[in-house]
Amino acid sequence: MTVTPPQRAEQLLQRTLGPGGETCAILGDLAEDFAEVVERSGPRAAQRFYWWEAVLLSLSLKGQRALDGLVSSRDGETLETMMKSAFNLPAIVQDTRYALRGLRMEFRLYLFSMLIIGLGIGATTAVYSVMSPLMLRPLPFDEPGRLAWVANDGEGGLSAVTSRTSNLMDFRALNQSFEGLTGYMAFFEQGSYTLVGHGEPEKLVGVGVAQNFLDVLRVTPLVGRNFVDEEGVWGGRPAVILSHGFWQRRFASRRNIVGTAITLDSTSYEVVGVLPPSFDFAEIFQPSSRVDFLRPFPISEETDRRGNTLSMIGRLKPEATVASAQADLDRIIAGLQQDDPDRWGLGANVVGLQRQVSGPYRSAMWLLAAAAGAVMLIVCVNLSNLLLSKGPKRAKEMAVRSALGAPRHRLLRQLLIESLLLSLGGGVIGLGLAILITRAVAAADAISIPLLRTVSVDGSALVFSVAAALVTGLVIGIVPALQASTGNVAAAFGGSTRGASASRASNRLREALVVAEIALACVLLVLGGLLLKSFQQLLDVELGFQPRELVTWKINSARDFETLTELTAHSDQLIQNVLALPGVEAAGLTDDIPFGTNRSWTIRQPGMEGEEREMVGVFPHIIDSRYLQTMHIPLVAGRHFTVEDDESRDRVVIFNESAAGVLYPGEDPLGRQVEMFSGLATIVGVVADVRHLSLESEAGAEMYLPYSQAWNFSSLELVVRSSLPVDVLAPSVGAAIQRADPTIPITHYQSLTQVVDQSTSPRRFTLFLLSAFAATALLLAALGIYGVLSYSVTERTREIGIRMALGESAGSVLWRVISKTLVLASLGVVLGAVASFAVSRSVGSLLYGVEPTDPATFTLMAVVLLLVACLAGYFPALRASRTETVIALQAM
């Protein structure tokens, strides 16, 4: 097989070098060398070689051409000779000293510039640091690129994307793409364990994992060992591996805890190991939750009966890719389905693990990165403008030096060193700012974004900010430097006698820069406005229940109950205790509070045959007779559950309106029966839809079952409605719970408003940062306008003086300056609006209930910008209108 050079690199060269025979010859030369490298070091190295050469060549040929255009370099003065003399160390030291002297002389101006640069670098570095663990840095596993996430191919909640354990067993046996396949029990948050002994009872969260889970991820326990066969099978020896955080917190990092037993609920588990600090299960797989230990989840016939439970993870073989693994699994699934047409729940969707983890946050992160970039751009424009305004003054200095024999590259270097010093100073400020921001972000518990707690300004962020500072220095310095370093003696000194029209071109340039600044600020403001509006829409969403004044406790008894009657009696006693408390209005039980995980059961109308045997997936909630009233979920038809609906009576069920609409469209569902795996149940009531999964998603088909008839829950949550403040309510409810059952941990409770807040936290996070960026942009744009106008007013003092001497009124002068502001600002707003129009479509996925082209937002932001621009222009205008004719004319 012959290896050909990378096509993209060839295209790059063709584009930069332009068409023609020479380009072809160059491509040929490169191709020849490429073949040689293939021979010597293999195709991969050769690809790298080709890219490197292509980029270098494009830069060097293109760069020279650009330089020729800019500098009109002296004969024979090539990029190389210029570089060489530019890096002459003693001269650099001299120039740096000179530049420092300059900075000292105009300290206030430069400090101000450094602060502005610091703002930009701080913002970009902070965003970089937040993005880095999620999207740039590899996950904390060995060879993380080979880890893949295998989801089921359904759509909807967790039930649709998890798999049966039989899938894992078959995939393991038949696949050719994975070195290892494993999984964990995805619904782990629904269950919980109570640790007894070792002090106060505590509610713990444990995840069931396949026995080879740590092996596939290549995580080695810090202390102890991984699970062994006897622990990984159904009914095997109970064992746990503690998370590092829990081990530190509860057992004070005692190594000898390994090998001893802890009691969870009423079972004794051997602690066989402790996870290393680098692997925090929850941080990666379930942000904002907490995982205290792993325990084995048997991959067996018994667990297969529970239906879709597993989230699967595989380690690809070195030669396999996500695509080849997908093809492999597709083939296996087709075969399995053919062997057993009745088999359900088969499906596989392979994605890289990193992609899976960062997936939901990618677009928000890119938006933030783009916004930070825009702020940085505005900073550069602003600073460039500031340096340009010093142009005429510098031009004289440069003309003198040029007349005394300084070559142009020397002048250029001097000016660039100045702007680099400026930007490095700003970089230091920015770094400090970034450290503050990232500390605040990492400490924010309420934000559920993976790996956020690991965010910090690390080495790579440091490199990033230094690089950002250097690039900034070059960007802000290059245009003013080129302008000032022309060393045109006649122009520089000729200008000083006339003053006024010295730099019409330079004014144009600076006005153009301000327009660009306003346009960028406009884009950020519009995006921020759109996000803000979607956030408001989201908060205004009709939840279907009333989260205010609701507090929940997870009721997790360490006691064993023989019968359902025993359990319900126990819980009823508990509720009676709570209801007896002063200030408690209502209390109820459910197996899942809103915005938790979901699940899905299939039901159908009984008695249908053949084609009509359609199964419908419904989200079941198991509740007591008081839950719906406690939540203020309105009853639309029929009745609520009562305490009489127990095991001795016929099974009953309450539908939500969506479920009723799906199963009995246009009919009265009351009194009809539905068939589910546990038997037939009669529909006794219909309640309104509730947003259970998230604020964004509408309710699907859901049903409610009385917990006194269905023992299909792993834990219960107590929901209490009371107008008392949470911290007043919590101790008395806790005491009431413990009076009924002292083994129930009571330290973990949360208000439902907190739960709702947490579900909007990624949005709030994005919104907060973007608004901060937009505000910064607005401020900088205002400063930009102010700077340009106030400079032009100073420059034209004499002209204004003459005009006023000839009778122009102060009002007219004021108006002329302000109208100029308005012209600049309007131009910027128009350009910005067009750009926003183009950009806002790409953030469509982040919006909720707002069109990306929402006219109200666009208009509002335009008005805000124009007002701010007027304000920024007002002060220079005022100054102009107060020009004293005599003083102005004296300056002649």
Binding site: G28, D29, F34, L57
Partner: protein
Amino acid sequence: MYTSFSRELPYEATTSLAKIGEFELLVILAIVRAGDEPYANRVRRDLQDNADRRVTRGALYRTLSRLRDKGYVDWQMQPSEVPERGGHPMRRLKVTKAGLAAARASRAVLLDFFEGLGPLADRG
């Protein structure tokens, strides 16, 4: 384009002094040395191996263009049968008469200046 003082000197001396850099001279000589195979890759290798210089591709191509602009070097495109080139043509490089003259003048100037320095020129 030309600086004013160049008009006052004889043509050859001017070109060698003001118009030809060391690297340019080396490139011209390498083309001549390449004999039957005056191609860019060959020239580059010769310079790397025998002139003890790291020659970036960009520097060589730019120098070639500059030498052609000065009229010292020229080339013809010729189709290539070498399979590794993937069907791309080759530049057959040629040093022009003016180029040879410039190189010779350059050499003369150098020799002139070394002349009579005696042991000073020979010591390392």
